[in-house]
Symmetry: C2
Subunit: 489 residues, 2 copies
């Protein structure tokens, strides 16, 4: 089996090796598109189910809008088309015909009058529909989410983190007032942040984007930023307050309770399969994948150990009992394969990120106990069969807590302060979140990006008061914000 | 509110009216593509969750393959390209640019070297990947399912039944032997058939397609055919034994246990959002939508009735108790809207297909009981609060049973026998499944389709022995099959 490059040696290669060793995804014959293999898809499915539950709990419902969008729709919001036109897959024909010399080609007679783009995001088509659904304040709010695939033609791709096609959810809400829409955008940011912490064991920084990093068409873009193990940032989810921009572009108005016509207020918010990349880059180690229990398709693997046929019968029988005792509460796999030695099984399940392994040998059967190996490390320990489910729950909680602790500690250690732009440039290669006083200025921001490839990840929601009386680390002018600069995926 | 055309008056218009009155879907600005509104999407979501469970129970796992397929892949299987080339959305560019005179257009500089099609189905890209995943018999079977959107450019569309884009699942399995693959194809047909009966209350006929109605690239196509209220057939799901066709097209071989190289055997199987259309056309009535309880997003609606503020307080309080008593077992909606009279509420929820309504007026509060109105009809009746959950369960079971009974009775009554092609032509307009002895012959089949627009829906799996000694109703030659002819959606 292929070995995994260490993080120390080459962080980017380590990431690809972890993916391959765990069997999460594969490259496809279509440039920039990946295949989500069953193990990788199962992680996404767990993310999806839990987020869907949290969306419902906050009053949202699911719907589905078309994949294809007329190109003219994209042009209706000026910034939006600017942001997405350069990366659109364009459908121009609706039929193939036999080509001379074999094969098929687009049939020229089937050229579309108006080309269609595959949705890069769905604001335009959804606001077209909302225009038909909204007449009065009684039709508001609309709180819709969509689970879908989208396509953005990317030149440089990396599995999960940046792919031409990806899976995501996109919430699109319509409101009668600005305040309500802003509260919605902030609420969904909180949903994402608490989900990342409680479910993925990823501490995130909540903040607002600078004007140049905003979503194309948004008034404010809120973000959760996670720190990867190399100190780079990964934007793990965004929530946008869209103001009335899309309502104006698609002329969506409503009659208020007092009889006036007003444009509708909007939000949109999304997370994608890149969250799977965030999980891997936050938690995995040089052994391979390490999954937080809540998103582990297999939370507990049982590995019976035997030498003789008689031992095989008794260890398998006991393993079956253990599985039955755990099955209702946990996702359990009993690895009863004959052809693999125990060591090879341990190796395989460790690389697949299973948080807890329970070894069951003849002596364990005799003692009616199992031997627990926790994927985050530490001494192996015995668990008596009585109460095994509670002990497993505790072990899994322990994995979550330990993963969160490590990530949080890393974030504290690598949130850095610098006195000058010079110092920033010198220390940037080491990675980390650079928390600096900043005078908001798009020209300076562009220069820093150009010179260092670092970007403003966000103005954190907490601690902005610290900017008062400080000067910008770059321009020396009075600070308007505290900003986090970092290299990012 | 718009009225619903009766089935008697105009069955096609009735269907569209039911959809609109229930708020299941809407037309989109993209030809042939519809919007699944929240109520319609929720029905699909319930279908999806239950099928997904049944797929897992039969050993399948989910994965995800790219939306876009190189056109050359489509050509690799001769019948497959023949079947799908004429209805493919073709992506030819990956960027838009500003057009003269405003708007945007495909940027000629972004033309793709090889055009891509949006998947009409995924056999080709999946078998390309399986070619990389399969080396030995140890890699088999592969039992993968995918939930996805697909696009087939349709000229004549009808919401849910035939749309350019639709949502579906497609299973794609790979096996070491023909027998195993055939058993898989038959197993999945059974999964679909029992799902249709037990979950959707739709009796279906299981059968095999004639050669001309087969999936493009299949050796055998199995189908479940449902009878709509106008006597037309609707193909509600198909399961294909693909033989080695795709394995040969993509050169996918495996080393058997005895060391030989053999081509892999395949199946694929799918159901789509057209199942929602089947539900509507099977069960709904002139009042509007009527949903089987298992796929009703709202199974029970509580409608409190009050005149005074004091009555409002007590009926709402009691309705809340009822909701709490039902909430854990059923999908319940408490309609506490002020602005609507009870009659208007009844009307609305009936049109939305809610199987059971519980009315709660001041006298019901006093008696601590509710008044049940079942959507399938019958006298309203009181249910005491004690044991309300069990009574609701019984009422919902009753709705399912009644819906199934009605559909099964209709199928029996309208499964027709004819003595001659002449009689067939005369009676066809009345609808129904024509069960006839048939001498398999593609030319005759094409002639019948041309002359009557009726097609062979299937050769039913049960009752084929009846063909022995009979002559074909059309050609008069010795019968090879019992066939069902019908007009179909």
């Amino acid at each position: 089996m292929d070995s995994i490059t260490t993080r120390e040696q080459d962080y980017s290669q380590w990431y690809l090796d972890v993916l391959a060793a765990a069997g999460l995804c594969d490259y496809s014959p279509v440039k920039g598109c990946m295949v989500l293999k069953p193990h990788g898809f199962a992680v996404w499915d767990l993310i999806r189910n839990e987020l869907d539950r949290r969306f419902r709990d906050t009053g949202h419902v699911n719907a589905y809008f078309p994949l294809l969008i007329p190109v003219s729709f994209l042009s209706k919001e000026a910034e939006h088309v600017e942001g997405f036109a350069k990366e659109c897959a364009v459908v121009t024909h609706h039929r193939l015909r036999a080509a001379e010399g074999g094969g098929v080609e687009p049939d020229p007679a089937s050229r579309l009058e108006e080309p269609l783009v595959i949705r890069p995001t769905s604001e335009t088509i959804i606001w077209h529909m909302y225009g038909q659904w909204i007449q009065s304040w009684r039709d508001l709010p609309i709180l819709i989410n969509q689970w879908a695939n989208v396509v953005r033609w990317e030149m440089k791709t990396r599995p999960f983190l940046r792919t031409t096609e990806f899976l995501w959810q996109e919430g699109h809400t319509a409101h009668a007032t600005s305040a309500e829409a802003q509260a919605e955008a902030r609420q969904m940011l909180e949903v994402y942040a608490s989900f990342a912490r409680d479910f993925l064991a990823i501490p995130v920084t909540e903040g607002v984007k600078s004007a140049s990093e905003r979503f194309a068409g948004a008034v404010d873009t809120y973000t959760i930023e996670a720190m990867m193990q190399n100190g780079w940032a990964l934007q793990a989810g965004t929530s946008h307050f869209l103001g009335q921009n899309f309502a104006k572009a698609f002329d969506v108005t409503f009659q208020s309770a007092t009889g006036e016509r007003e444009h509708v207020w909007a939000t949109s918010w999304g997370v994608s399969t890149r969250m799977v990349g965030a999980i891997i880059m936050t938690h995995s180690d040089d052994t391979g994948l390490l999954l937080p229990p809540a998103v582990a398709p297999i939370q507990v693997v049982l590995t019976p150990i035997w030498k003789t046929d008689a031992e095989k019968a008794t260890t398998l029988a006991f393993a079956d009992e253990v599985r039955a005792a755990l099955g209702a509460r946990f996702r359990v796999k009993l690895d009863d394969r004959d052809q693999l030695k125990p060591g090879a099984k341990y190796f395989e399940w460790e690389r697949k990120g299973v948080p807890l392994r329970l070894e069951i040998g003849p002596r364990d059967v005799a003692a009616r106990s199992v031997f627990a190996a926790v994927r985050t490390g530490g001494k192996k320990y015995g668990i008596p069969f009585e109460g095994v489910a509670d002990a497993v729950a505790a072990a899994l909680d322990g994995v979550h807590t330990e993963l969160y602790r490590r990530a949080a500690e890393r974030r504290v250690q690598r949130t850095l302060r610098v006195e000058s732009y010079q110092e920033f440039k010198e220390r940037l290669e080491g990675g980390g979140f650079f928390l600096v006083p900043w005078h908001d200025d798009a020209a300076w921001e562009a220069r820093i990006k150009e010179e260092t490839r670092a970007t403003i990840r966000c103005f954190p929601l907490e601690g902005q008061e610290e900017a008062a009386g400080k000067v910008c680390f770059a321009s020396g002018r009075p600070a308007t914000h505290m900003a986090i600069f970092a290299r990012a995926y």
